[in-house]
Subunit: 207 residues, 2 copies
């Protein structure tokens, strides 16, 4: 179905993004990238990589919105343990975001046009700026630089721990056969919460 | 050149690994993977991915050895800031390790045989065990679990920050043109040191 008016084109673009999102979430980003090309995509996007990077930008925006909403307007200070739980929980609820974070850095960002990577960076930086403002309001003693370091660490950990918690088929079989290797498969939420709790405590200094 | 004796085969395997290491370090893992196949490799390794995962395992062993040596036998307690600097510096000296860490999780581990991924996991877990023993000896108040969390966080951050500090061609050009985007390109050692210092402080608790 070809879109003949600007409205149709916009709707078709949105529909393609929604389908790609469902597929990526169901199959994982790696499997989706290795799969067959969906017909019609090239009329609206440069490539599958561009679609995935658009989705990654939206995930940044959505995650920032959710965290900012949960932090509130600073009327109640948020203690370190609660903030660690909030961040870990919000990332655990967003498996596609975690999966995309890893792929964006290693490959997606490197495989699209300047305009596409720029749009992604603008979305990510805007999300970081909104998160930084909300975090410094809600957490006494947390500076802007410390908040940016916290966001960088939380997303880096989420990207890594998500891949660890979702091994490939061969590795999953190995873990099932050999319990001595299985403890490499750290659980996402407990480890994330422990690390972020300690990090936030260290960033805000002694109470 | 075909290797006709076990000694020749071993030497040839070692030579191939050494060349692959030089190439990967010079070009980056992503470029190497996308490049042409080196002839003769298939006689000694399953695939380019297996070679890279063998290199990643060796990098884990090498990194652990260097950190353990610098930590000493626990005769002098290592303060948080010194440990953060030691870890950040040791990872900064190992760009190939940082690059491989990101690729191992997202793709290499998922593209090799069970025997190859098992050998990699054994090397990585052995390195983590040696690091954990040395860290708990050298850092008063650091438990084994906290040490493992610290190693997980340090390697996750190194994997992410290295990719950020080494953007692709298109992104590097964008950063040069638009300074408002360039601050996404965090410097590896300062950010790594800041985050690890705060994390270690939080992990060992108030002095």
């Amino acid at each position: 179905m070809r879109a003949r008016t600007p409205e149709n084109k916009e709707r078709r673009t949105r529909d393609l993004l929604d389908s790609a999102r469902e597929l990526a979430q169901a199959q994982g980003v790696r499997t989706l990238r290795a799969g067959v090309h969906v017909s019609g995509v090239r009329r609206y996007f440069e490539s599958r990589e561009e679609i995935l990077l658009v989705l990654a930008g939206r995930e940044w925006t959505d995650w920032a919105g959710a965290v900012v909403a949960r932090l509130g307007a600073g009327e109640r200070p948020v203690p370190a343990a609660a903030l660690a739980g909030l961040l870990a929980g919000s990332l655990d609820e967003r498996p596609l975001f975690c999966d995309l974070l890893a792929h964006a850095q290693v490959s997606l960002e490197r495989e699209v046009s300047a305009a596409s990577v720029r749009a992604y960076k603008v979305a990510a930086l805007d999300a970081v700026a909104r998160l930084t403002a909300a975090l410094t309001r809600a957490v006494p003693g947390l500076t802007g630089e410390a908040a940016r370091n916290l966001i960088a660490a939380a997303t880096a950990l989420a990207a890594t721990l998500w891949q660890t918690a979702n091994p490939g088929e061969v590795l999953a079989k190995l873990y099932a056969e050999d319990p001595s290797l299985a403890h490499a498969r750290a659980e996402f939420v407990p480890r994330m919460t422990q690390v972020l709790d300690a990090l936030i405590t260290g960033l805000i200094g002694p109470a």
